[in-house]
Symmetry: C2
Subunit: 361 residues, 2 copies
């Protein structure tokens, strides 16, 4: 496919990625981990784009973290095989998809937090003649998955007795605190979470099992988890493209993705209507931000329309002009789109398919 | 592809469609319009699925309404050619896509609400040697697109003078009121909107132009707009699959779509965690509803997790069991998924691709 010359030649709405900011963010994270024993295993759920995973691996990432089997399938197809699915994989259909990846030589690890799941995994994996690495998920505060450190010991013991399974370590995600804008609170609560995670590691080791991987952390806490004694891997993902929420934390990463949109109507003053709505940009963490037009802001999205309210001096925008927005939540915004346009300034460098987008499984 | 036997053989999370409820909804709408001069032109944005559009056309729909060029392209490829894109199509790239559809013999009509857009359409369409039908969009209350009836006359005049364009009629969408649960208010405000729309028709006709199509309405107001003197087409879409919001209006359509999901964790009481999150189900109109488990309700979604809070007697759900949810907003939920599983009771009848899903343009 012939690439458009500049961003003005791209149809809208579209996602634009500033290549220098993206690679700058990846380099900043890589530099942080260069002299640490822990390494980053970037989360694929944010960008779902093989080209970004490759840049992260090239910069020294240990492997890739995924949220589901569909994402792992895309990565394995692209030849990226050291994967942690940081989630419980439940049900025969999905476990058989996992087995197909193992048979292709992928080193896919999964999280577990129940006896039922361990038994089902062991049954299907051992019958298929393959081995699966599992991490016990410890609940470190987020009201979601994971067990207590004490219960973690029981699960570790069960894993060690289960044919086809190898205990590879533990994980715990401090998602309840990773976005807190109160730096002191965020760091304190993160340390509490990691203390709980390391307690699980110690209890499991005292019980006679080896805990290789200790995985936790996100973009808002990577510098705490990544230096916390005993943690071996950090699951941060958003740092590569960033969004308005994480930008508020002052982490030093740059917002590398914008949504480009065309003004399609100015008929109903004081509104200016553009062609990017909630089927293009997510709003569960607030409205995306209109860039570069003081006195005007995005106040509402329809499915296919952005409603900009003009409150100050009207911006000099006419029908057909293009505007850009910063996303409020990068992960769910990328998931709504088909591709990323990679730019050097206004020049189009490349077009990357968001290969794992929109997969529900 | 071999179909799964029953819904228990489908991977989760997945969208299930009850075929009898779907066809019942389509028949109910068709029966309403059977003796009316107005007809329904169902909105494709809700289901984005060619098979559903075909069922609607077979039941007597006049054609299909779309929200964007990408949806029209999917329909034209499937041989469905009488289309209204109920939106302004702005910018050379998108207009050239429109021209390609016209050259394939598709009868695609679009909405306009500005001189700039009319001039750009006329310029590109006439140079391509095709003709495009346009509808003037009248603002009937929604703070979005559309002009006043008086301004509508000016635009109609400009269209009649513009090479390549044919004035086909007018449209006005009462989206500000279509979801109101106050029936009296909804009906009164809808009549006000339609009065404004018909005033535009009269003014344009008095100015000497022919107004063929008069299009408005949605699922919450179809019985008002569809019987309002002068309205010729109704754009309702959600009635075919329905959702929790529209169900509150007591319209007599049945909720035909559910999201099926697997319990993946019960480790962190009182929560039960399932594998359907906000990358599977939308939440801008509220939480989806857990079906058939009193005392438990969905209270939060992560990207890939549903957080069910158990408040009463714990439901007898174990890890691996499946549950179903009703969507709060059908249009944005369907947009997140790849396919619909069509069921007769528990039996799988068919698998339909959501062919126009997730297209941002």
């Amino acid at each position: 496919m012939k690439l458009p010359g500049t961003k003005y030649d791209i149809d809208t709405p579209s996602l634009l990625v500033d290549y220098r900011k993206l690679t700058g963010n990846i380099q900043k994270m890589a530099a942080f981990f260069q002299d640490k024993s822990a390494k980053v295993r970037p989360h694929f759920k944010t960008n779902k784009t093989v080209e970004i995973a490759r840049l992260q691996l090239k910069a020294g990432a240990r492997g890739i973290t995924c949220a589901k089997v569909g994402e792992a399938e895309v990565l394995v197809k692209a030849g990226i095989k050291d994967l942690l699915i940081a989630n419980e994989i439940v049900g025969g259909i999905k476990i058989r998809r996992l087995i197909r990846l193992l048979k292709k030589g992928a080193e896919v690890k999964v999280a577990v937090d129940s006896e039922e799941n361990i038994r089902e995994l062991s049954d299907l994996v051992s019958r298929a003649g393959v081995r699966l690495g599992v991490l016990v998920e410890i609940n470190v505060g987020l009201p979601r998955c994971g067990v207590s450190p004490e219960k973690g010991v029981e699960l570790a013991r069960l894993i060690e007795q289960s044919p086809g399974l190898t205990l590879r370590g533990i994980m715990g995600y401090e998602g309840h605190i990773v976005l807190s804008e109160d730096k002191k609170l965020r760091e304190e609560e993160c340390r509490k979470s990691m203390t709980k995670l390391i307690r699980a590691k110690e209890l499991i080791e005292q019980d006679g099992h080896q805990v290789g991987i200790v995985s936790g952390g996100g973009t808002g806490t990577y510098y705490i988890t990544g230096t916390f004694s005993g943690v071996t891997e950090v699951q941060a993902g958003s740092y590569c493209l960033m969004d308005l929420r994480y930008d508020k934390l002052g982490l030093g990463f740059e917002k590398a993705l914008t949504i480009r949109s065309t003004v399609i109507s100015k008929s109903f003053a004081p509104f200016i209507i553009t062609d990017a709505g909630e089927k293009t940009m997510s709003i569960e963490f607030g409205m995306p931000e209109l860039i570069g037009h003081p006195g005007a802001r995005l106040v509402m999205l329809s499915e296919e329309h952005g409603h900009i309210l003009v409150e100050g001096k009207p911006p000099e925008l006419k029908v057909g002009d293009q505007v850009e927005f910063y996303p409020s939540h990068i992960c769910t915004t990328v998931n709504l789109n088909n591709r990323l346009w990679v730019l050097d300034g206004e020049k189009v460098l490349d077009r990357w398919e968001i290969a794992a987008r929109g997969m529900s499984q």
